[in-house]
């Protein structure tokens, strides 16, 4: 049942408990318990809203920063990651295979703010060897959802 609950709420976290139970053919209580357990176990870590900020008047700059580091004795990557992800402007930190070590996603009001974060905070860290900053120009699809187009039902109204 867990996988089925997750598959539905991953796409629609606002679905009400009653509807969710009907969709899955389970009792409301059983679904509620399962969700509560998954919250406790940190399987469900939060409920967010997918916003296309481009359609608002809010100015936002999103940057993806490739970071190369030297892991230090007794610290490994996790400690360095922690020093980076503690900043609230950092949206995501991933440890990567390949040409660099961390992918850091940063959200700021302006490009200058991004530049300042990289030059004042990220680059001076002891373990950081180099950074490469890429600005996001346009988001087409996020979290499995296409942001730009509105879905229209093109089917005829009645068909056999």
């Amino acid at each position: 049942m867990r996988e089925k609950i997750l598959a539905v709420i991953e796409k629609n976290s606002r679905i009400d408990l009653h509807d969710l139970a009907v969709l899955l053919g389970e009792s409301e209580a059983a679904v509620a318990n399962e969700i509560a357990d998954m919250e406790k176990e940190n399987i469900i870590c939060g409920y967010h809203t997918l916003i296309n900020w481009d359609n608002t008047s809010d100015e936002k700059v999103v940057a993806l920063i490739e970071v190369r580091v030297t892991p230090q004795r007794g610290m490994g990557f996790d400690k360095i990651a922690e020093r980076i992800y503690q900043y609230s402007e950092v949206q995501a930190v991933y440890l990567m295979s390949g040409a660099y070590d961390f992918m850091v996603m940063l959200e700021e009001k302006t490009m200058r703010a991004v530049a300042q974060f990289v030059s004042d905070k990220l680059s001076p860290m002891d373990s950081v060897l180099s950074t490469a900053t890429h600005f996001v120009l346009k988001k087409y699809k996020d979290h499995g959802t296409v942001l730009s187009q509105k879905i229209q039902d093109e089917r005829m109204l009645v068909t056999p």
Binding site: V8, V22, R155, M156, L157, V158, T159, P160
Partner: protein
């Protein structure tokens, strides 16, 4: 001027669904629960294969019976899913949708005056196709108390010395009924005993929600007397590609190929290349769509029952077939009034045969939000009826 028309064509009744479509199209702001096709778009990797085939310049005819690769994939699919082996060389034909397969199968098999048993409510084309092929339709009226399954007794009662062919449309449009293995075994013994053939329209086979679909062709002694029809429209959300197929004994398939070759030449080449990709790499898409339909099915049945409508549990296709008998209105009146007063389009059961009277076909090939919105309106309508009549 002479009468330019053939009596046979003129005598055919226009489809009841067409009439209702004309009424609905006058009302563009209606919410529809009236479609008979998936709400999903064709999965992208399948579409891409179609596009790629065009880029590669694969814009020519294929062989009459279809691309060899596709026929091989069809046979391997039917074998892995339903455990019936067919030879791709001479036991399968690729057609323009399941619809063409229905037509040419009947034309290949019927002699004038031979009877075709057609269980109804069912898809609209069996009866006219039988007539156009000079067959005589014999309608069996399926019953709600049997969950719209075809029973042995009903079949026996319909068989005469002239019976040639039985149409077996399961999972069923419009009722959502299925035939389980035990149901099929019951009728298979009758079919073999009376030496008749079966046209098994299994276009909704992937949309079966109570364990897997079983084809009658997999039962002992049935493969040699069954034409199995399937296609890509429902399982892979490919209605507009117009691609289906039929599998059966070489003797029958070769006659179907002959008719197909003169009428159609071959199924669309682009669609055939896309379909190869669908069969090779589409299992996961089908599973996702099936689960999604199943969830909406539960939701719709639950909501309708909550409103006080009786409906049997439909385990197939994407339709629910609730009874509206308690309101004392005809299906046509109910559907028309619902459309006028609440702007919700559903299809009257009578569009699928006279015995659909007293029922509605409601499709759940819609997003949950659309279903909710439409069902709120249906509930509103029903509450008014319960209180003493619609305001017409």
């Amino acid at each position: 001027m002479r009468n330019p028309l053939a009596d046979k064509a003129v005598a055919i009744k226009p489809s009841g669904i067409r009439k209702f479509f004309d009424i609905v199209s006058e009302m563009p702001d209606a919410i529809s629960l009236g479609v008979g096709e998936p709400d999903f778009e064709t999965p992208w990797h399948i579409r891409e294969e179609g596009i790629y085939s065009l880029e590669r310049g694969r814009t020519f005819y294929t062989s009459n019976s279809g691309l060899k690769e596709l026929k091989q994939e069809i046979c391997s699919y039917i074998d892995r899913r339903f455990r019936v082996p067919y030879r791709y060389q001479d036991e399968v034909i690729v057609t323009v949708g399941g619809s063409e397969a229905i037509d040419i199968a009947m034309r290949a098999m019927l002699n004038p005056g031979e009877e075709v048993i057609i269980p109804q409510p069912s898809y609209v084309s069996y009866e006219p196709c039988a007539i156009l092929a000079d067959g005589v339709p014999v309608i069996v009226e399926l019953k709600e108390e049997n969950e719209f399954r075809l029973t042995k007794e009903q079949l026996l009662a319909a068989i005469t010395p002239k019976t040639k062919l039985l149409i077996l449309p399961y999972p069923n449009n419009p009722t959502g009924a299925i035939m389980e293995k035990k149901d099929l075994e019951e009728i298979a013994s009758v079919i073999i005993e009376h030496d008749i053939f079966v046209l098994s329209d299994e276009i909704y086979s992937e949309l079966s929600y109570n364990g897997g679909h079983v084809t009658i062709a997999s039962l002992p002694g049935m493969r040699e007397r069954t034409i199995l029809i399937n296609g890509f429209s429902k399982s892979y959300a490919m209605t507009g590609w117009r691609l289906g197929y039929a599998c059966g004994p070489a003797e029958i398939i070769s006659q179907m190929v002959k008719i197909h070759q003169f009428a159609i030449m071959c199924a669309p080449t682009t669609s055939q290349y896309a379909a190869v990709e669908a069969l090779r790499n589409g299992d996961a898409d089908v599973a996702v769509m099936r689960e999604s339909y199943n969830q909406r099915r539960r939701f719709l049945v639950h909501r309708l029952r909550e409103m006080g409508l009786t409906c049997f549990e439909p385990y197939g296709a994407f339709y629910v077939f609730p009874s509206i008998q308690k309101f004392g209105m005809s299906s046509d009146d109910f559907a028309t009034t619902l459309l006028q007063e609440e702007k919700v389009a559903v299809v009257p059961g009578t569009a699928f045969g006279d015995c659909g009277e007293g029922f509605l076909r409601i499709s759940y090939a819609y997003s949950l939000e659309s279903l909710k919105k439409a069902l709120d309106r249906v509930e509103h309508f029903i509450q008014r009826l319960d209180k003493g009549g619609a305001n017409s």
